[in-house]
């Protein structure tokens, strides 16, 4: 049986073809169109059946009879719906965009994109992962402001793709408190705070705080125990304070390092406090060298006991030379221990170092 083109119109009823139906005849450079002409508010759809049992519906308002384009599984679920006005697509169920092979990517393309993870219980926070939405140049991980909510305003984790930083709790500001920088030859982790702020790294074992490290502009780091008692600190200049568990009662080590000549004389002053009616004793180690032969150098290791400006020196070892000079100790005032590099008569230069171990009154 065949029909003529421009053939016929069935005014009503249905037609059944027992076999394949072909529309069009492959005419070059010619569009082919299959029209489903319906009315507003009713579906324009194609149905797929097993026998007379519906399996899938495809079309405009296929199940909802709206203007949305839909794929309906004929068992109660609209699997895919595309809104005609906004182009927003809604998938109902797990969605796989590509086979599990490399190179198949899902792209969210816009000037600022976000992906929302919504929990239908309504009792927990929902999440949004976004790019360029909250912080420029950043990817933000943001919980909803309320359980079950869909307002995402304050990120709790931010990755800065321009500065290679990771911020935790930095909110709507680009990361500053914590950042990590990587290069092929170096691997650095840096904690950064405001110019006068402290930084702490705390250690817990189970629920117990065992101690922490604090850094500020006075001390590069200080180690504290669980009772927040300072144990050890190191200054930017290299001085080491060992408090022994009680502030101001430990042994402190001061160092000075530099260069001079055999002919130079200078003083290294250390503030040690006034002993009052008690006494104090310090250990001093010092050395200067211009040459391998000791005649051009000097060194000393000695203890110096003090009260006010009075003092007495007990040498452990001492090499004073005419060329290099010597190291001696004194109290320049009641609160200052003075270590002096005394002049020799040789002009050659070299490195020196002085270390003073003390307790402060």
């Amino acid at each position: 049986m065949s029909f003529q083109a421009s053939a016929f119109i069935f005014a009503q009823g249905a037609a059944t073809f027992n076999g394949n139906v072909t529309v069009g005849s492959a005419i070059a450079a010619t569009n082919i169109e299959f029209n489903l002409s319906g009315v507003s508010g009713k579906a324009k759809r194609i149905q797929f059946q097993d026998g007379v049992t519906g399996q899938w519906l495809l079309g405009q308002g296929a199940a909802s009879e709206t203007s949305a384009f839909e794929l309906y599984n004929a068992t109660g679920t609209i699997v895919l719906s595309v809104n005609k006005s906004t182009n927003i697509s809604t998938f109902n169920g797990s969605t796989t965009f590509a086979a599990k092979t490399n190179g198949n990517n899902v792209t969210l393309s816009s000037n600022g994109t976000a992906m929302e993870m919504y929990n239908t219980s309504g009792t927990v926070k929902n999440w949004q992962i976004s790019s360029q939405v909250v912080n420029s140049q950043c990817m933000d991980f943001t919980p909803s402001t309320a359980n079950g909510g869909t307002t995402y305003s304050t990120p709790i984790l931010t990755i800065d793709g321009e500065q290679n930083r990771v911020g935790v709790g930095t909110g709507t500001s680009r990361p500053l408190t914590l950042f990590h920088t990587y290069s092929a030859t170096d691997n650095l982790s840096t904690f950064q705070a405001g110019s006068s702020s402290g930084i702490q790294l705390r250690f817990r074992h189970g629920s117990t705080l065992t101690g922490y490290i604090n850094s500020n502009t006075t001390n590069i780091f200080s180690v504290y125990n669980t009772n927040s008692t300072e144990l050890v600190s190191v200054t930017p200049g290299g001085d080491v304070f060992h408090y022994g568990g009680t502030s101001n009662q430990g042994l402190w080590t001061y160092v000075q390092v530099g260069s001079c000549t055999g002919q130079n004389t200078f003083n290294f002053d250390v503030t040690v406090g006034d002993e009052g009616g008690g006494g104090n004793i310090f250990k001093v180690e010092a050395g200067f060298a211009h040459y391998s032969a000791m005649a051009y150098n000097c060194l000393a290791e000695f203890y110096i006991s003090c009260r006010s400006t009075g003092y007495a020196t007990t040498d452990v070892v001492r090499v004073d030379t005419a060329y290099g000079g010597s190291f001696t100790g004194s109290k320049s005032d009641a609160s200052t221990l003075r270590i002096t590099k005394n002049a020799g008569n040789y002009p050659g230069g070299g490195r020196y170092w002085i270390r003073v171990t003390k307790v402060t009154y």
């Binding site: 001085d239 530099g258 130079n264 200078f266 002009p347 050659g348």
Partner: protein, 64 residues
């Protein structure tokens, strides 16, 4: 950071260098304290018009 505090007499003579700023010299008007690149102790230095000037290398010692 290879920098240190360089201490000169106001008259230009080199005194010493130190890793920490020596307050007893910083507060003494007879001295000038400059935070600068670390000096090479193999050479002499002086302060001329506020600038550190590198001088001659110390002579080699030949005796043993």
């Amino acid at each position: 950071m290879n920098k240190e505090y360089c201490i000169f007499k106001k008259t230009g003579e080199f005194v010493f260098t130190a890793n920490n700023e020596p307050q007893n010299y910083s507060n003494d008007s007879d001295y000038v304290v400059i935070y600068s690149d670390r000096l090479d102790p193999s050479y002499s230095y002086s302060l001329v018009n506020g600038e550190i000037v590198k001088g001659d290398k110390w002579p080699e010692i030949t005796e043993e």
